[in-house]
């Protein structure tokens, strides 16, 4: 009986300690220390199990791609290192190049790293059509190096493994002098990502690209015709927009009755992006200070550009959630 009581007391104690231990573990998680392994030593340590070790490191890296780290520099060092190691351990791990380039491009914002990783992938997987197409689009969009991109696209089209869809897609890119299709397809590639943050950023950039193409077409119309278009349909012209992209570009804008242009989807995506960034910043603030920041603190201390709201509306920040509400509500 006594032994049973002792056992119950110990179980109760262990369960009671769970709460404080969970908080302690959470603090450790917030510190998020990652050890970046040396590629040579990792190969040595793998003892022939390179594929499995590459998988394990990749599994650890996947959630970190979009996770919030208190020390951003550390995160970048870790991810750059682990992507290097994984691709060294298993050069044919195509997914890593694809997702890694998405991280470098959309989250870190480093075109050079994006292209370097894709070039490494193509170098080690010369037969991979997926990587060549990605690299070609990155070269065109991020570096403006059309010649290098064309070289890869032509290889893809001549490859016996190239399916008709990919061949058609590549050939339309080649004929599009303005590279509008490339620009749009580049961001659309990321919409299928399993990483929500990547998808969010890609949607915003896609809308911005559509707006950019639209405005260019609008200004070209004005220069050629000497007047503003009366309707959006007037832009449906080969001289201003390639037929392949006309519908989707025109769909991104609204011409009001009083002649003002509006881009509602862009505004919505931008606000969503600001909301996400605000939420991330507030959560980090909350972890550090133990309380949620005010709207004033958000304006003064964060570098997030807050949107201007229409008359009669105001911004409200509550527990990290930024919203547009009616004034005085």
């Amino acid at each position: 009986m006594i032994r049973l009581l002792i056992a119950l007391v110990c179980i109760g104690g262990a369960v009671a300690l769970r709460g404080p231990l969970a908080k302690a573990n959470a603090l450790r998680r917030a510190h998020q220390f990652r050890y970046t392994p040396d590629p040579g030593l990792v190969k040595l340590a793998s003892c022939g199990h390179r594929s499995s070790l590459a998988d394990l490191l990749w599994l650890q890296a996947i959630p970190d791609l979009s996770a919030q780290f208190a020390d951003l520099e550390h995160k970048e060092r870790w991810l750059a290192g682990v992507l290097d190691v994984v691709t060294d351990l298993e050069p044919t791990f195509v997914t890593v190049y694809a997702y890694g380039s998405a991280y470098f491009d959309l989250i870190k914002g480093s075109p050079d790293s994006t292209i370097a990783l894709l070039e490494k992938g193509v170098d080690r997987n010369p037969e991979s059509i997926q990587l060549r197409v990605k690299l070609a689009m990155a070269l065109m969009t991020l570096r403006g190096d059309r010649a290098a991109a064309l070289e890869h696209l032509e290889w893809v089209m001549n490859s016996p493994d190239c399916d008709s869809f990919t061949a058609g897609y590549c050939s339309s890119i080649l004929v599009d002098d303005r590279q509008d299709l490339v620009a749009l397809e580049y961001w659309k590639e990321y919409l299928d990502s399993a990483n929500e943050q990547v998808v969010g950023v890609a949607k915003l950039y896609l809308e911005r690209t559509r707006q950019g193409i639209f405005m260019r077409a609008w200004e070209e119309f004005q220069r050629v015709e000497g007047r503003r278009p009366f309707s959006l349909e007037e832009l449906r012209d080969d001289r201003f927009l390639s037929p392949a992209i006309t519908d989707e570009v025109l769909a991104c804008a609204i011409l009001t009755d009083d002649g003002r242009l509006q881009f509602p989807r862009l505004v919505e995506e931008e606000f969503l992006r600001v909301q996400q960034r605000t939420k991330d910043w507030c959560e980090a603030y909350h972890v550090e200070h133990g309380e949620w920041p005010t709207l004033y603190q958000l304006r003064e201390e964060s570098k997030i550009p807050l949107p201007r709201v229409p008359e009669g509306f105001e911004l409200r920040l509550e527990n990290g959630q930024l919203e547009v509400v009616t004034e005085g509500s």
């Binding site: 040579g40 040595l44 003892c47 199990h49 594929s51 499995s52 998988d55 996947i62 997914t95």
Partner: protein, 255 residues
Amino acid sequence: MRDCVFAIAGSTYREAVRDRVLWVVFVFAAGLVLFSRVLGWLSVEDDLKMLQDFSLSGLNMLGLSLAMLVGAFSLAREVERRTATTILTRDISRGEFILGKYLGLVGVFWSCLIAGFVVMMTWQILWGGGFAVKALAALLGLLCESLLLGAVALFFGALTNAILAAVGTVVFYLMAHSLEALYELTIYGDEVRGAWFYKMAYKVLPNLEDVNFINATASELPVRWDHLGMGALGVLCWSIVFLLGASALFRRREL
């Protein structure tokens, strides 16, 4: 080959198969194969690739565990428990005894590895993966590796007691799988101290990477069957060397 060799092989096989240790090890390996599917769910894509990776690594670990716990313990325990006495006082030489034990152990290893491979392929097919002929290359590589590990385990078992023999087998496994990486360091890395030693070791010591086709199977690299053949031949040569060593050591050992 005299019938006494096969008699020893048969009794070794039967003893091992009836030992609880072997079943525990096999169940763990099978569990890892089944659990590899869960790991695949954690990835963004390539879940079947991860299933195959971890399963094959699990089978490789199964081979090592068997060599360590069954192979190394087999001979050393026979000497420690003196069951070898009742056998070696018959019309059988020590060399024949070693050969018989080796054949029995290889039978055990191959049975387990093939059974594990069948579990892996069944699991893979259930989750939508296909049967790739390349996977057979990985299995054949594992079978070849078990040939050498079995010989090494007997060598250490003839030399010392059961625990040290198991440790020796593991150390050999680590060494034989690290040679390739050490050699790569000397070629691709910066100036490495003692590079001459690693290069020499790479040339003269047994290299289990010669028959390691796990990575090739899971990562879409092409399989060169002629490479596998050469690797198998090399492994067979080393196995014979270790068996001869085991025989020589055991001949001098006092029971």
